[in-house]
């Protein structure tokens, strides 16, 4: 009579998040600020990406107590990150009943060959992608939501733009292919044929795609929404800025009104300094987070 945790309800929660902003928070106070600013969900984690970058060392799943405290502080959905391939961390997060698990390259990967088999889980997963093949491989493994990766913790939007343009460009090009060519495209993208065929027919991913990694300003949010993102993740961009309360609300407003420059302008006024940023091009290959995952 009742079917719980079907793919439709997993992907359906991502539908409900659309047009919204998901904010990284490290404690109850930040979670409450995010909720009061209009975040559609929060990502509970011990260190935002810019701090993970600065501190180095192995970045793991957050302390369950910390995640629980955030679940108690807000009524909006709470997400949490597991390391790539670390299905035991994901099992712990499922026990905590987080609303979404982010199998995230921001944490140090636990398995260099395999991502988590996400199908057996009742909690839905969101995964990062830099191109269409990567997105479809994650969906093939059971991901119910995709985020373009960008380069987390930099405040530099260039990688987010590259990944969004790549994914959407590859989707567009599939549309012009005949059936025989679609099989070849599936091989080239190293993606499941059925999913490639579905994308070619519909002209979009079969799940919701947000943008992450480098959003620091209302105009950044507007840019990625205009490039086809269906919502945004903001990590370090809010709570590493001069005025998190104002900036959080401003990014929410700019995400809703992304196509109206007058509203993005109004949202951009009087926010103080953005987060300290790093130009992604200046990073060493080994420092890039977006290269993690395959």
């Amino acid at each position: 009579m009742r079917d719980e945790a079907t793919f439709k309800v997993k992907a359906g929660l991502a539908e409900m998040l659309k047009g919204g902003v998901i904010m990284d928070v490290i404690d109850q106070e930040q979670a409450r600020i995010a909720e009061a600013a209009g975040a559609c969900a929060v990502m509970a984690l011990e260190r935002v990406p810019s701090d993970i970058r600065r501190d180095g060392g192995v970045a793991r799943m957050s302390d369950p107590e910390m995640i629980q405290s955030i679940q108690e502080a807000v009524t909006i959905p709470v997400m949490a990150k597991a390391r790539i391939g670390h299905f035991a961390e994901a099992q712990v997060l499922e026990e905590l009943e987080v609303d979404y698990i982010d199998e995230s390259e921001v944490l140090t990967p636990a398995d260099e060959a395999n991502h988590i088999d996400k199908w057996p889980f009742r909690v839905p997963f969101v995964c990062g992608a830099t191109n269409l093949g990567e997105a479809l491989r994650r969906i093939g493994e059971g991901a119910a939501m995709i985020r373009s990766k960008g380069e987390a913790g930099t405040g530099d939007i260039v990688e987010a733009v590259r990944h969004l343009r790549t994914i959407n460009g590859e989707i567009k090009r599939l549309g012009g292919l005949g059936e025989a060519e679609i099989a070849t495209a599936a091989k080239d993208h190293a993606a499941p044929l059925e999913l490639v065929r579905a994308v070619a027919a519909s002209g979009r991913l079969p799940v919701v795609m947000f943008c992450a990694g480098g959003i620091a300003t209302p105009a950044d949010a507007s840019l990625v929404m205009q490039l086809g993102a269906e919502g945004v993740f903001v990590g370090s961009g809010i709570f590493k800025s001069a005025d998190p309360v104002a900036r959080a609300a401003a990014i929410v407003e700019a995400t809703t009104h992304f196509s109206v420059p007058e509203r993005v302008l109004r949202a951009s006024e009087g926010l103080g300094a953005a987060m300290d940023s790093i130009e992604s091009r200046k990073l060493e290959e080994s420092e890039l987070l977006s290269n993690r995952g395959w």
């Binding site: 009579m1 009742r2 079917d3 719980e4 945790a5 079907t6 439709k8 309800v9 997993k10 359906g12 929660l13 539908e15 409900m16 998040l17 659309k18 047009g19 919204g20 909720e35 009061a36 600013a37 209009g38 975040a39 559609c40 969900a41 009524t75 909006i76 959905p77 499922e94 009943e97 987080v98 609303d99 979404y100 009742r122 909690v123 839905p124 929410v252 407003e253 809703t256 009104h257």
Partner: protein, 200 residues
């Protein structure tokens, strides 16, 4: 309404708004367009001008509440309802319309009443529509905790109301826009066309 052209036999002229502050407004728009309505996304009060009906979609009720405040949409939405135009709220939309938010329908919603995301579910819900139960998708769904005498409860799950009607307002706790079953939207659209004809 006298300034508008009269609707054709199939009602192609009917324009329905979908509140588009946040949530799955595109999914609603796609269903309404499939059923022949002209669809307009509503983000500011001026977007309500000339609409025949309005859908308040699923999404995060906190986010949408704050959006309604920021855009000063509360009074215009109440006036829209007072003018006799039909409104359809799904999930967060049900919450927005309840007595603790816009006060457009005389009921109180309990948020996330079925639990966290792991308790989200699909189930057939009997609404007495031709064709049998509707396929319903419940996502961190609310239920109707209590309601006034003029509210008709149309369906229950676990003994709690999940669909209701009062006058021109229809609310459901689930997501007909995600199920591929268009009958509730068709029912709503019929009420929009009827209201339009009555006002003409």
């Amino acid at each position: 309404m006298s300034g508008l052209p009269s609707p054709g036999a199939t009602g192609e002229q009917t324009t329905v708004g979908v509140l588009a502050l946040q949530g799955d407004f595109e999914a609603h728009g796609a269903v309404l367009a499939r059923l022949g309505a002209i669809v307009r996304e509503v983000r500011v009060p001026a977007d309500l001008e000339g609409l025949d009906g309005l859908v308040i979609p699923g999404g995060e009720s906190t986010t949408i509440t704050l959006g309604i405040e920021r855009e000063q949409l509360g009074e215009p939405l109440k006036a829209f309802h007072a003018s006799g135009k039909p409104i359809f709220g799904t999930c967060a939309g049900l919450i927005m319309l309840d007595s603790e938010h816009l006060g457009i329908i005389d009921l109180r919603a309990e948020r996330n009443a079925f639990g966290r995301q792991v308790r989200s579910f699909e189930a057939p819900v009997e609404l007495g529509l031709p064709g049998g139960p509707v396929a319903a998708v419940f996502i961190r769904a609310p239920w109707i905790a209590d309601h006034g005498p003029d509210v008709e409860i149309l369906a229950e799950v676990d003994g709690h109301g999940v669909a209701a009607r009062e006058g021109q307002v229809l609310v459901v706790a689930f997501h007909p826009e995600l199920s591929g079953d268009d009958r509730l939207h068709a029912l709503f659209l019929q009420s929009v066309r009827d209201a339009r004809l009555a006002a003409a």
